[in-house]
């Protein structure tokens, strides 16, 4: 049986670990509130853009916009991988990376090769380990994604897609269903298909907000195509920025959940260890008494 001092040492160590995980849980919980505010800030813009897009999609257009066009020959895909800069968030990062691998394999079967945009240090490490050079990398931004980052990614997608260097674009990220649960989303964002224009709103249980435009008797200046030409890149930007912010929200949720589980496990372990400690101490005392009694009895004889 382990001696008393060893057990005491372990109890202390587990207790200090518990202290850390509990603090991290509380920090994540506080950050969730901040991220939620951010989501709320961009929501009016996002919903208006989506609304207008849906309305426009009902119009008859004379020409097909390059972003709506499905390329006849599909060879190159771009996968935007959105994960965290930090670990300690349960399966937050690994589930996205696993899905990425899965998607790339699936595309390969169709004869499509994949390139990657890595958002978050964990994705960078993942690709580095596999000797893959992503076309763009972003770090230190997962907790607070910048607008520039979204603009850059969407501009790259837009140009390469219009110039037919890319035939498909996907984004893989965690969607914050609510403060505790995340859903893995693997979404094709280009080509935009007219009937899939919608928005996933974080912290909304009904995942997809049904956006129904009130009226469609709008005039388009100079014409519907030109308006679409402005709106679709905006939609793309919104889609990407929204995913980044959504992922940031999901990250805090995932971390809080993971740290809560760690804290609970630590508490359980302290309890078990304390019980073992007490039993060992009781055992030691009993042995001591037996020895004294035995010694006294020996003397009497």
């Amino acid at each position: 049986m382990a001696n008393l001092r060893d057990i005491q040492k372990r109890i202390n160590s587990v207790q200090s670990t518990r202290q850390i995980t509990r603090t991290m849980e509380m920090v994540a919980a506080a950050k969730i509130r901040k991220v939620t505010e951010r989501v709320q800030q961009i929501t009016p813009y996002a919903t208006t853009v989506v609304e207008s897009c849906v309305r426009l999609a009902q119009e008859d257009l004379t020409r097909v916009h390059p972003l709506l066009e499905r390329h006849a020959e599909e060879k190159n895909a771009l996968i935007i991988v959105v994960v965290s800069d930090k670990g300690l968030a349960g399966s937050f990062n690994s589930s996205v990376l696993k899905a990425t691998e899965h998607l790339a394999a699936e595309l390969k079967e169709q004869g499509i090769s994949s390139e990657y945009v890595a958002c978050g240090k964990k994705a960078m490490q993942y690709f580095k380990f596999r000797n893959i050079q992503p076309v763009a990398e972003y770090k230190d931004l997962s907790a607070f994604p910048s607008l520039e980052q979204a603009l850059e990614i969407s501009l790259t997608c837009y140009h390469n897609y219009s110039e037919r260097k890319l035939d498909r674009v996907y984004i893989i990220y965690n969607h914050a269903r609510n403060a505790a649960d995340q859903d893995l989303i693997s979404l094709p964002i280009l080509p935009i298909s007219a009937d899939s224009i919608k928005l996933k709103v974080p912290f909304d249980e009904g995942i997809e907000e049904e956006i129904t435009p009130a009226r469609s008797d709008y005039d388009y200046e100079p014409d519907a195509y030109e308006v679409l030409n402005t709106l679709l890149p905006m939609y793309l930007r919104v889609q990407i920025f929204h995913a980044l912010v959504d992922s940031a929200a999901a990250e805090q949720g995932a971390r809080r959940k993971a740290m809560k589980a760690a804290t609970d496990n630590a508490s359980e372990m302290v309890e078990t260890l304390t019980r073992i400690f007490n039993r060992a101490r009781q055992g030691a005392i009993t042995t001591e008494i037996t020895e004294i009694v035995g010694g006294a009895a020996a003397l009497e004889d």
Partner: protein, 138 residues
């Protein structure tokens, strides 16, 4: 009594303006457009320039500098979704000069391969220079 309409300017990260207006003019891509209340519903993409919001009761119109985006007007409400927008009252020569210096520094630090970043930063630089000349000429 003038009839009024609602006016809203939203950028990706902020809501810049919400209020009432009796007249709004915007730099639409096909040319400047002006809206009075009960205008027929219209959607138009924006170029870059100045948005002017006039509210009958206030003497001074409110000016916003805007670049890209679109305007949606349904007769009772003018919604402007801007790529970039700034309240002209918030802009100063000093602040803009500082910003331009910052952007130039950023532009110099970009390594090759990030064409999109270079393109965006260059656009940003040109835009801020234009803002500066607008503010200076006021």
């Amino acid at each position: 009594m003038d009839s009024v309409m609602k006016c809203e300017i939203v950028s990706m990260e902020h809501r810049l303006f919400t209020g009432e207006a009796t007249f709004v003019s915007v730099p639409a891509l096909p040319g400047a457009m002006g809206f009075y209340p009960k205008h027929s519903p219209v959607i138009a993409p924006l170029g870059s320039g100045i948005i002017k919001i006039v509210n009958g009761n206030e003497a001074e119109p409110i000016l916003f500098a805007v670049r890209g985006g679109y305007v949606e007007n349904d007769g009772a409400r003018v919604t402007i979704l801007a790529d970039y927008a700034e309240n002209m009252a918030d802009l100063t020569v000093e602040g803009l000069k500082q910003k331009i210096a910052g952007i130039e520094e950023k532009l110099a630090a970009i390594n090759d391969g990030y064409t999109s970043r270079i393109r965006l930063t260059t656009q940003d630089l040109e835009w801020n220079k234009r803002l500066l000349s607008m503010v200076e000429s006021q």
